[in-house]
Subunit: 285 residues, 2 copies
């Protein structure tokens, strides 16, 4: 079958073996989105099983677990993949394949609402204007909370604005300090946490979504003096995300920057890493 292979570099191959695993389902892939974890893997951060990320992940889950495209299991940039049938979730007809690509990150956005309470009187700031920040904005908008977004890409901020956020350019606009009940840090950059600490009000909450791997120089005394709560937030359940998309809760099409055939995978990856780019989708079959 056709597939992208990663081993040092990323290459397209015509003759990869179709994955057959006893007792599992063989899944035909129609399209698959390139996410930041994919970009990080290609840069070499993950997959070793020995880095802090892997070790920390192991502590939470079974050490024998596998993760599609990350740990002990090939990924979805291929004509077929193998998964245990209990891992499969039916996607309603009303969700296009392209929109279904957003279910996993959208679930990560919905996870925030399972960790904290946001009401229409909440002042909420989102740090970042990338793919995840965009989805989070659309999820938080459902709560009625007042939204402010802090980013540095004009086109992406414009999309945040269309989703209901008041937008600030972190390099041009002066930021309102210590006024937000909730700050969601989804910038993917080391600077995001410092910005979040300046935005959140005393006794406020910072939800941390970024998993960049640059140790960050932080003045944690602010966390103590202002009794701030920081909550790490990772993945979420798929159900709320599927229901949201199925009910037309948001239109994710403006978040798709480009679509490439699987054969052009390496090119698609280099495009996906550019600053102004949002989701890049690989068309497989």
């Amino acid at each position: 079958m056709k597939a992208l292979k990663f081993g040092g570099g990323l290459t397209f191959v015509q003759n990869a073996a179709v994955p057959i695993r006893q007792g599992e389902a063989l899944v035909q892939v129609t399209c698959a989105g390139i996410c930041n974890t994919d970009l990080e893997i290609v840069k070499g951060y993950a997959g070793c099983g020995k880095c802090n990320l892997c070790i920390a992940g192991d502590a939470r889950h079974c050490p024998e677990r596998t993760v599609l495209g990350i740990k002990g299991r090939d990924g979805a940039f291929a004509e077929f993949l193998s998964l245990p049938p209990q891992n499969l979730i039916e996607v309603p007809e009303s969700i296009s394949d392209e929109a279904a690509v957003f279910i996993e990150p959208l679930a990560a956005a919905f996870n925030i609402l399972e960790q904290i309470t946001i009401t229409p009187s909440s002042e909420v700031a989102i740090v970042g204007d990338g793919k995840l920040a965009q989805l989070i904005t659309r999820v938080i908008a459902v709560t009625g909370g007042r939204l402010s977004a802090f980013g540095k890409h004009d086109e992406k901020l414009e999309l945040m604005r269309s989703a209901g956020a008041q937008c600030f350019h972190v390099e041009r606009d002066s930021e309102p300090k210590h006024v937000f009940d909730v700050v969601i840090e989804a910038s993917g950059s080391a600077r995001g946490m410092s910005i979040a600490l300046n935005l959140v009000k005393p006794r406020g909450v910072i939800v941390l979504k970024s998993t960049h791997h640059n140790p960050t120089l932080l003045d944690m005394s602010l966390v103590v003096v202002n009794e701030i709560q920081i909550i790490g937030s990772r993945c979420g359940r798929f159900r709320p995300a599927i229901d949201f998309l199925a009910s037309g809760g948001t239109d994710v099409r403006p978040l798709i920057s480009a679509e490439y055939p699987l054969e052009e995978g390496p090119l698609a990856f280099s495009k996906a890493a550019a600053p102004e780019i949002m989701k890049v989708i690989l068309r497989v079959s």
Copy 2:
């Protein structure tokens, strides 16, 4: 009146003016404890009204507020001090003046129990073995939670052990990784937060008590991947601390390292800053 004065250096003066403020109570001081904030002030970190600490504090309270010995109001290392009568709390006869010195930091320890729930099945780690860590240990012991302490001073760790904690020397013993439901970081050092991140289990809680002013290099991706919650914790209500001391809940006398007359204040301060020293008390009248 006799008083310690800070202005660049710390000096004892015989003829300070007795503070008289309209509508306030004049309080005669019998003894007063030197805390880490006092040591930090003498080192020059606070009192400027312009540092992050002051600005952040202002955001939470009235900008016009004064703080005894910190902001706009002389401190307690003097024969008399002035306070609004509504700020005065009667200390029961059963609490000695020396024990009453511990009410404020003990209240800060009790504050933790208003922020998180600790049960007898909780595995709790305390990072640090100084004055505040000692008081926290005694407060957490009341919950029945299983206590482990991580410090680097043998005598202080011995005191933690006597209060019911299993003790680890952070430079000699290997630490159990990612097993604690709750980690309370009260080391006062930049390294404490990194230790806490290694101790806390996935979805666990780190309570942050240290207000050292060294920006700390932290890998916050662990917070996200393990969905850790970090809670800044500052001061507390005095009532639980007073009730605890009045009922004989703990004996704080082993935490008093030395007592000096006010005249020897500068010497007392230099002693209080030594690594093996706990609370130093100034006898005023």
